[in-house]
Amino acid sequence: MKWRDPLILVVLIFVVWQVLYLLVGDVALRSPASTAHSLSNLLSDPRFLPHISETAIAFAQGFAIAVVVGLLIGLPLGAARFAGEVAEPILVALYSIPKVTLYPVILLMFGIGMPAKVAFGAIHGIVPISIFAMNAVRNINPTHLRTAQVMRMSFLDLTLNILVPAALPEIVTGIRVGFSLALIGTLLGEMFGSQRGLGHLLMQAMSLHNIERILALTLLLVVFAAGINALLLALDRRLHARA
């Protein structure tokens, strides 16, 4: 992967940021340099760690649930053609509704706290993972299956050596998208109704008009999300290139 283009892009973004700061001033922005400084301060502040771990734990659990449930829903739907045909528009409709709308319902079910956050993250991630998993299985070349039959492969053999490699690229794409969406969901949940975590800190900083804190947290979240996504994307592309 050429490193020159992404590097140019990153530099460009920082330049634009700096220019905006020069135009707008301290009333609403901080410079990239001072934001980086605030962020490093924040990261070394012991009172900050519990918030990061809160978000991280909630996200990890939500994401894990999204992967498991998403695959459990998507894979069989891909295999059973009619069930898949019935389910697809329903899944697509679920994908497009603003899931934020369901947050109060979840809060009513789980109360404020970790379980609700995990649920937020999970519902955001489940739908794309199941849609991609369904398509991954659907698009397995039937000739592969017939070849396996001719070679008289056992079911386990067939699954491990044909089905999994064939479906893996699309499944990984779904997991990548689910990762990002689960993160957004966890964060959104914290912004809406929580007393702890990065999302909450962000809202708190907003009400206190603490611009440095807002920028530092935003930078942290953007770098984390973009960074992990870039790694997953590289994996995604490698798998698709092989396929």
Binding site: V24, S96, S180, T218, I228, L233
Partner: protein, 250 residues
């Protein structure tokens, strides 16, 4: 082979019926969820009384602005980028990573800069929607066959005329996909932002009702959004099929 549509409708009806039963029987307590029939009733009352007309109008207007802005900016940017491969290559990582970034994280920043009016919500909706339009416009323009580009030149069309009369019309199905996404994302962005913090709008009213333990109102408005978004998306789907049927081999 039973009709997929009928099975789907049956599934939805059964699910709603089950919910209704569980709520009425008290298995799901009333302070958690009210029966779907009560939700519908409450919604009907609210719409009839016009109590939230202001909010509904505000939200719809904001969503509309976000969609129009995203389409205009997105198609223009996509068309421009398609003719500028160097810029497109540089921006490619941005396209790939854009939707991974929690866009809502910028919401507090926007509020601090622009205040508590409607602009930050529209901005979030716009930011979420515009990239989908750009990506799909690019995808469509990439697929214009060389022979049509040559035909445009034979007809002596300048670059702007060629884009407007030949390239974009050819790419229209893909631009429409971008449009569908723009609609979905604008709803998600605007309503999500209204939830987080706002002074009016459907999202705000739901949040307010939640904080005041007003389940009938809250669920009514949630139902309203769900129905609205699903109806809009289904209509777009039908419209798309009709537009594409002309282009399909008979």
């Amino acid at each position: 082979m039973p009709n997929a549509l009928i099975v789907r409708i049956a599934i939805v009806v059964i699910a709603v019926g089950l919910l209704e039963l569980l709520c009425r029987l008290g298995v799901i307590p009333n302070f958690t969820m009210i029966p779907p029939s009560a939700m519908a009733q409450s919604l009907w009352k609210i719409l009839a009384s016009g109590k939230f007309s202001h909010d509904i109008a505000a939200t719809l207007v904001n969503v509309g602005i976000a969609i129009v802005a995203a389409m205009a900016a997105g198609v223009a940017a996509g068309t421009a980028l398609q003719g500028w491969p160097a810029a497109r290559r540089t921006l490619d990582p941005l396209f790939a990573t854009y939707y991974a970034v929690p866009m809502y994280a910028f919401y507090p920043l926007l509020i601090v800069i622009f205040g508590l009016g409607d602009f930050p919500q529209v901005a979030i909706g716009f930011l979420l929607a515009v990239m989908a339009v750009i990506i799909n416009t690019l995808n469509g323009l990439d697929r214009v066959p060389a022979v049509l580009l040559k035909t445009a030149r034979v007809h002596r069309l300048g670059p702007l005329a060629a884009a407007w009369r030949v390239r974009l019309p050819y790419a229209a199905p893909y631009v429409f996909t971008g449009f569908k996404l723009a609609v979905a994302y604008s709803f998600i962005g605007v309503i999500g932002a209204e939830f987080i913090t706002s002074s009016r709008g459907i999202g705000y009213e739901i949040s307010f009702a939640y904080n005041n333990f007003d389940n009938p109102v809250m669920y009514a408005m949630i139902l309203f959004i769900l129905l609205l978004v699903i109806t809009v998306n289904m209509s777009l789907h039908v419209w798309e099929k009709r537009l594409l049927s002309r282009r399909r081999r008979a």
